[in-house]
Amino acid sequence: MAKAYNWQLGREVNYPYEPKRPKRQFAVVMDLNKCIACQTCTVACKTTWTPGRGQEYILWNNVETKPWGFYPLGWDIRLLELLDGNKKTVFDAPEGERVLGWMPEDMDWMYPNVGEDEVNEPVDVGTVLENLPHPIWMFYLPRICNHCTYPACLAACPRQAIYKREEDGIVLIDPERCEGYQECVRACPYKKTMFNFVARISQKCIGCFPRVEEGLQPQCVITCIGKIRLMGFINPPEKARQDNPIDFLVHIKKVALPLYPQTGLEPNVYYIPPINVPLSFLKQMFGPGVEHAVKTYTAMREGKEPELQALLHLFGSTPRIPHTFAVGRNEVIAYDEAGKEIVRVPLVEPIQFRPHKDERLDVVRQDIP
């Protein structure tokens, strides 16, 4: 068992293979304050990648309501039980196993909308939500594969059918090597590999690699109507760049946090925690950084974090992958890998005044009083 340095935990973790970071690492930031669970991302992914037989239950992208939503049932509760608090990572496996995991039954996958829109506890008559965080709360958690730096699926596959791409850190299953043993399904703590029971191979989110290769963000990112997502490439903290949008959110402002970092996998989807939710719950899910993240985000809403506020305008504003960004007077600008400008987004939209009567066309606009 080799040792791998996990910056999210600030310590080394056990890993079955020699750790090697890819040249670039795929990463997505999702702002949970904005997700409305419209499932446009889910549908975009489903129709693009998993419309086939044996894939009926498969959602590479899903959106679940926390605290009572799970896909598959109870996935994160089972995980927290297995990890015994923060004492273990999933690589501290019991005798005879490669990874500490559990295998969901088929029916566990069949309720992707369980707990939808349900709040944490029953609401008393007359309850008013005045202050943050709310005593009665829920939030939506969109999930894709985390394309982990130390993937448990890859570690668990006895056939080495899973690999992490050197060029972008995307984790893929080789469909020709896979024999459907489902060791990866058992191992992935986020339960983001799934078994296609007609093709009899395991399948997982491919990070829309054909798009990423063309410099485009994934389907789930660009179709998000709430503009909550941004895909880019993350550097390890010692190489963080101020002008890389993902680095800025994760390393500089520390406003976006990994999901259940205690797994030890270094997951690469980062969440801006919802500020309506009590810190105790968020801490369990996103680690001790939540207090700072919520504070920073709240300050941003009060206009005290102009650069962060500007960067959030880039979310959902371009299908292209922004490698760097700059903030202008009333705009934020994104650049591609070659430094070429790909989009310029105004921070405050200019006001257009449309009179009730259009003199040029000599018509009255019905939608303007």
Binding site: P51, G52, R53, D106, W109, P158, Y181, F197, I206
Partner: protein, 278 residues
């Protein structure tokens, strides 16, 4: 337990062979049916099996501990006959559910020095692997969604022809190659329940281009009865050095699906057994 595994491995690498011997008598024609009269006259060899504990993931609590093996040949083909007890008949390979299976392993070079643990680099083995789910596909039709979940409501497959094929003109070529299409489903559509793989060590088993092995498995009275048959020499592909009048070695593995056994989680005979072909 892990150290025990290493010990056993060490013993095997030193070429230890069980005193058991499987004699493969010559007959005029080889029956594929496990209940054919020809098999009744052959005395079985009871091979002890134990859980796979050399590499992870292991099977620490295997449910099958012995298998009765018979062998016949007709000069051109060889057939193995297996009977082992299994309380549950697992004929499907589904989400978190696995199929019963049996396999025989033959070294390419007739030497007991080839590691019984699926060979090693340069020491190739042939594995003939019968699975109940492939038998089910052949006997009762392909196990697709309608068969597995008859009440499943799914209104539309926008890009998928029935039952498991993607249209070639589907605009999403990436999806075609990566998640669907002939490449993926080819392995499921051979008209034989036995797949032929070669291996040079753990985790290296690879499908052969030519899949000539045949087989038939029947579950009866709490036991699997399976026959695996293959030509000694298949055309246009590599073959072990074996044939009539020659001696080589064999080892066996069994998977009990409902005991969570698949891939490395299996019971196996930890030693080569001499295989005498008459």
């Amino acid at each position: 337990m892990r150290y025990a595994g290493v010990l056993i491995l060490g013993l095997m690498l030193s070429g230890v062979v069980f005193s058991q011997e499987l004699v493969c008598k010559r007959v005029k024609s080889l029956p594929l049916d496990p209940f054919d009269k020809a098999w009744a006259d052959v005395k079985p060899v009871d091979v002890p099996l134990s859980g796979q504990t050399v590499t992870t993931p292991m099977q620490l609590k295997p449910s099958v501990t012995s298998i009765a093996v018979k062998c016949l040949n007709d000069g051109k083909n060889i057939a193995f006959h297996f009977i082992w007890p299994d309380k549950t008949e697992d004929r499907f390979h589904l989400v978190s559910k696995f199929s019963d299976a049996v396999a025989v392993q033959i070294p390419y070079k007739p030497s007991a020095d080839v590691p019984v643990t699926m060979g090693e680099k340069g020491q190739r083995v042939l594995i003939l692997h019968w699975s109940a789910f492939r038998q089910e596909n052949i006997d009762k039709g392909y196990s697709d969604t309608a068969k597995i979940y008859p009440n499943y409501a799914y209104d539309w497959y926008p890009h998928t022809d029935s039952p498991y094929k993607y249209p070639e003109n589907w605009a999403n070529q990436y999806a075609l190659n990566y998640i669907g299409g002939e490449k993926v489903f080819r392995k499921n559509t051979f008209n034989t329940p036995v797949r032929e793989v070669v291996a040079e060590g753990y985790g290296s088993s690879t499908w052969k281009d030519i899949q000539g092995a045949e087989g038939k498995g029947v579950y009866k009275d709490g036991k699997w009865h399976v026959v695996i048959k293959r030509a000694f020499v298949e055309e246009s592909t590599s073959n072990p050095e074996w044939g009539p009048g020659k001696e080589t070695f064999a080892s066996f593995a069994v998977w009990d699906g409902s005991n969570g056994e698949v891939g490395a989680r299996k019971s196996l005979s930890y030693s080569w057994i001499k295989l005498k072909v008459e």
